[in-house]
Amino acid sequence: MRVGVFICHCGSNIAGTVDVAKVAEEARKMPGVAYATAYMYTCSEPGQKEITDAIERDKLDRVVVAACSPRMHENTFRRTVMKAGLNRYFFEQANIREHVSWIGLDKELNTKKAIDEVRMAVEKVKRNKPLFSTSFKVNKRVLVLGGGVAGMQAAIDCADGGLEVIMVEKSPSIGGMMARLDKTFPTVDCSICILGPKMVDVAQHDLIKLHAYSEIAEIKGYVGNYQIKIRKKPTYVDWTKCTGCGLCMEKCPTKNAYDHFNFGAAPTRAINIPFPQAIPKKATIDPEFCRQFVKGKCGVCAKVCPTGAINYEMQEEIITEDVGAIITATGYGLMGIENFKEYGAGRYPDVITGIQYERFLNASGPTSGHIIRPSDHEEPKTIVFISCVGSRDKSLGVPYCSNFCCMYIAKQAILTKDHIPDSQSYVFYMDIRSPGKGYDEFTRRAQEEYGAKYIRGRVSRIYPKGKKMVVRGADTLLGTQVEIEADLVVLGNAVVSAEGAAQMAEKLHISYDTHGFYVESHPKLRPVETNTSGVYLAGACQGPKDIPASVGQGSAAAAKVLALFSKDMLESDPAIANVNINTCVGCLKCVKTCPFQAIVEDTLRNGKKVAKVIETVCAGCGVCTSTCPCGAIQLQHFTDNQLLAEVNAICQK
């Protein structure tokens, strides 16, 4: 065995804190190493040529590159050794940048650790086996999770590119958060007027199939061949018969149902259509409030429905769709007002959230576009907006900026002046964050043209005083305490991950951060990909995002899917589990623990029961290998012996 070791300087990234020449010198002494050298940029063209030349000149049959994380350049170097005629699995990458040079300043210790990393990689590569991929057919259909603006954009772009799209939306209508907005910054154009055409495009596109009021029950499979089980929740209304006339909603005697669409800004009926432009424009019964379900009798909607669409017996239904890729556009959630004790924790009706205020501003909202105080329905004259409510607050577990609150508060201050010309808005802010195109001009306009008073400081307390809410805070620019007697207080509450985001990530096998936002493959260079091939991200599920960014990411995700589907066949990853049928004792523990259901029971000709891996389904996660008591099931390229060799390489006394 002749191993070649190539140590990369990575400019000063590695060479700055690691003595690369010494690492190469030590590598030369390792058993099996025939050649070792250090090079400025191994990933550059001359750097790769160095590798291919050395393979030929020194008859190398294994290659180790000690450089950055394999997530950066593993594929680069695999292609390099392949070009030189080696199997691409005869290559190992030791990560001496992210794991060594970037995390320590002590050159001596770093060098020692880098040598250990190289020793491990050398021991591993010596035990590597040649592996070969097979190719499989791609199912050129795409699943879009979420019917917000990001999901819709992705769906429309995919469908325009000729792909069949399955869209799953958990609420009764598509439209997402944008459908709830009155106007959009910085142009103050009507939100539903620009979103409506997109919603209609989704509804009318021949290639887009919409499952509204549905959720993902199960995701099986792998890139190119996913089997999706979709749970269609019972609406108790037969949507094939419902015409969306709204008569049921008018006659429904339950008037106190929670309005999910309006974020509880006002109550709604137990049977309702969320908004006039809803797609599909169909009614849904909320069994939590419907008298037929709560008390067992009522039946008013069934009596008045002209098409007989009401069906109280409706059950959930599971349907299956096969797709080849998934675009996740599951959006975001908002931090509950109960977290803000200093602002009344939801006890004061006249302290509301930004999205509730947005619904009051909206002509199709609960007040038909009239701004009111929820407590007595009078028109407020003094309105206080508070930004960063929960955001940038480590104590609430939200250290990040919610991205768009500064902008929508400026917009709401402008709209307030338009609605109530004799009103006065105050905005408590920490910093104004308005880096988008035309954004800063917009926040200036709110202050200069619309007279909104911006106070830099935090609000410490809100308490009622007669009909008013007293907002007490600091003005840090003047260095004084301020107290404003407000009619209405609007909180710019923090953006959090969507409810159930973590569970969805587990179903998708993608990573998520501690806040529940999905993690992209690379924060700069692979912003819409995930680490699970075939799963892409769009919109605020990846982090707080405004409309232009969400739409852009929706289109980007669609472009990635179109590129993936431009091939008819995909290559499989050979690093999957493999059963040694001679040692398998047939306890079938692996069958029970496989998260992908990729292992089945098989009977050999002699009647012996053994486990069998379905190669195309196995994701190479390795749960089975740690489960198997006798080591009969091994993950190719990560076998016990390969890992033990690495452990032994660093555990020598």
Partner: protein, 316 residues
């Protein structure tokens, strides 16, 4: 009394099964060995007394046809665990339950009689009378029983098709089961290490504990003796001994039915089961699971759950 009833039950079930697995007298009365009964004449050899220590359920997974097996309460947990793990087909096993008030540990009896040759043994319900060349000695079962009997929760088998005597309720408090483990936990890390290091260093790697263990399913493919994967070598060093016992313990995590066979067969008197009991205690705390108690249970290590109720891996 119950021996008579046991023989009657065996005669009754014998025509329906390939074999009945039971106990018979060995080379002396203190040594009881298994018997595989295939004809009615053999039934007379059957014995039932406090020397019937071996867990006969261990033979079940290797049986191809329908068999009957005689089990004590503790042994029945093995059957329950086999059912949970899908290692036996319950329809192919006739379980003859033998309520038991405690068995003797041969090693402890031998110590009590100073290792003299045994000439005659008489068994009563709660004592044994051993005759040796130097005279007769009556020993109470509770003084020479294995530790598992002192905290026995299942004197009557959990599953059975026939019961050869009246069922017995446990009179031992439930918290006595892990009393020995709790005692160990009270010690410092260094003391515990010294204790286990001393014990495992005695190991001669005869693998008797593994071979006797009903839950060691790997048989000839045991990882302790393979080169692919090569987890341990054949070198007789402390590290390798420790590694073997660690592997054995982890392979039994959430599976050990506490039958005590490993300790019974260990020639070096290593408390092999203690580490396994410790893991069982942890499994109980983490997953609210006790191996071999309820046939409907799923062993925690036999399922893949994204989230566990008591392990906050995902903080959301």
């Amino acid at each position: 009394m119950s021996t008579q009833k046991l023989k009657e039950i065996i005669k009754q079930v014998l025509p329906d099964v390939e074999t009945v697995i039971c106990w018979q007298e060995g080379f002396d009365k203190l040594n009881v060995t298994p018997i595989f009964i295939t004809s009615p004449e053999q039934v007379d050899k059957v014995v039932w007394n406090s020397a019937c220590a071996q867990n006969l359920a261990s033979y079940l997974p290797s049986q191809k046809k329908k068999v009957a097996v005689v089990v004590k309460g503790c042994d029945s947990r093995t059957i329950v665990q086999y059912m949970q793990e899908g290692l036996i087909d319950r329809n192919n096993v006739v379980v003859i339950g033998m309520p038991c008030k405690g068995i003797i540990s041969k090693k402890k009896v031998q110590k009590a009689i100073a290792n003299e040759p045994v000439e005659e043994v008489t068994f009563t319900d709660d004592s044994i009378k051993v005759k040796t060349p130097s005279g007769e000695k009556t020993i109470a079962v509770k003084d020479v029983c294995p530790s598992k009997c002192t905290s026995c929760q299942f004197p009557t088998p959990i599953v059975y098709d026939h019961l050869a005597a009246d069922a017995i309720e446990s009179d031992k408090p439930a918290d006595s089961v892990y009393a020995d483990v709790a005692e160990l936990e009270g010690k410092t890390l260094e003391e515990r290490w010294a204790y286990f290091a001393g014990q495992f260093d005695k190991c001669i790697r005869c693998y008797a504990c593994r071979n006797a263990c009903p839950m060691c399913v790997c048989q000839d493919s045991c990882i302790a003796e393979t080169r692919d994967p090569h987890w341990i070598t054949q070198k007789l060093s402390f590290d390798e001994k420790l590694m073997f016992h660690m592997i054995h313990s982890l392979h039994l995590a959430g599976r050990c039915v506490e039958c005590g066979e490993c300790e019974r067969v260990c020639p070096m008197e290593i408390p092999v089961a203690k580490l396994k009991k410790k893991i069982n205690k942890e499994m109980k705390a983490l997953f609210d699971y006790t191996p071999g108690v309820n046939p409907e249970d799923k062993p925690p290590m036999y399922v893949f759950n994204v989230d566990e109720a008591k392990i906050k891996e995902h903080k959301l």
